[in-house]
């Protein structure tokens, strides 16, 4: 680096790399379900149990694993159909 470098401002490519990675990795983590691979099975079995009592739509069951500060939270939500309420 010499005197000339003072006048030349090259774009900080590391910054670009970091931003691109941040986005793609978040996307890929979400696509992986962000959780262990037993989630689909767990979801199916839970759905079967719920259906013994309430006839819910398969799409009404949401299951998610959220990571926060090294803790994992299993989030599970079921939307009940109108008539059941």
């Amino acid at each position: 680096m010499g005197l000339l470098a003072l006048f030349r401002r090259s774009p900080p490519s590391a910054h670009v790399a970091k931003e691109r990675l941040r986005i793609i990795i978040q996307q890929e983590r979400n696509a992986r379900g962000g959780g262990p691979d037993y989630l689909p099975l767990l979801r199916r079995e839970l759905l079967e149990v719920i259906r013994k009592y309430v006839n819910v739509d398969p799409a009404a069951v949401q299951i998610n694993v959220e990571r926060e500060d090294g803790q994992e939270v299993l989030e599970f939500s079921v939307a009940l159909p109108e008539k059941a309420r």
């Binding site: 005197l3 090259s10 900080p12 490519s13 590391a14 790399a17 691109r20 990795i25 262990p36 691979d37």
Partner: protein, 270 residues
């Protein structure tokens, strides 16, 4: 207690074998009884980096298939008393490894008093990589500060949290560590390379080591002497620090900042 450490990365050519060899040597130099195993079936290379390629008689697959004893296949290092190498097979296909076979070898090593088993994973996410990580207690994820390496290592982190014995048994997580290689403080300073902090933030891992880019790595592999044994190299010191951190010591990071240049050096180049 035997601790199983997998050295993995997803991407090839980032320094898994160099790292496996150096960590194994570092642990052995501290008196630990260590076995370092090449899981790259068909593409044996750890033996070259360790400098014992002409002493390979039997390999990992021979042991698994019962064609020799573990003792016959373990190559005793000539420099370090408590270090042993188990070479990958050069000829068989990768299906020769089975999880049952790997477990048997690990059980035998444990019974033999080995304190550390370092598993040098192949690149990719196929069977060899899967088996290398399956029984691990810890993972050292080797990453270059470069987009494809970082992305691939995140993929590996996903596998570590799902496809390992610990994950399957709900027996606690595999402890994951980040080891950055080919790090250039100078290029980080000019904004051309992601910093330790950047990569750490993206992957969410603790840093077990930062190894600077250096000509010493090629020189070491040329000679078949693990680079950690080159006392004059910063790379050696960086790996030594990583070993200390693996053993639970708190060591500040070195070689992450560019040395400060004087006024004249900055004005007139250096």
């Amino acid at each position: 207690m035997t601790e199983i450490i997998v050295v993995t990365s997803g991407k090839g050519g980032v320094g898994k074998t160099t790292t496996s060899a150096s960590l194994a040597c570092g642990l052995a130099r501290r008196g630990k009884k260590v076995a370092v195993i090449d899981f790259d079936i068909g593409l044996r290379n750890l033996d070259l980096i360790m400098g014992c390629e002409r002493r390979v008689v039997y390999d990992f697959v021979n042991v698994i298939q019962g064609e020799c004893t573990l003792k016959q296949a373990l190559i005793k290092d000539k420099r370090l008393e408590t270090l042993y190498v188990l070479a990958a097979s050069q000829t068989r296909d990768k299906d020769a490894l089975s999880s049952e076979g790997v477990r048997r070898v690990f059980d035998d090593l444990t019974a033999d008093g080995f304190e550390y088993i370092v598993c040098d994973s192949p690149a990719g996410i196929e069977k060899g990589a899967h088996l290398a990580m399956y029984f691990a207690d810890r993972a050292v994820v080797v990453v270059n500060p470069e987009v494809s390496s970082v992305r691939d290592s995140d993929r590996i982190l996903g596998l570590l949290s799902a496809k390992t014995l610990r994950a399957e048994q709900g027996n606690g997580q595999v402890k994951e560590h980040l080891l950055l290689t080919r790090y250039s403080p100078k290029r980080v300073a000019t904004g051309e390379m992601m910093s330790v902090g950047d990569v750490k933030e993206i992957l969410g891992l603790d840093v077990v080591g930062v190894v600077p880019e250096s000509v010493d790595v090629l020189a070491a592999s040329n000679a078949g002497i693990p680079v950690i044994l080159n006392e004059n190299s910063d790379v050696s010191r960086a790996y030594e620090d990583a070993v200390a951190r693996l053993l639970g010591e708190t060591v500040p990071l070195r070689f992450v900042d560019e040395p400060k240049k004087g006024f004249f050096a900055r004005m007139f180049g250096g």
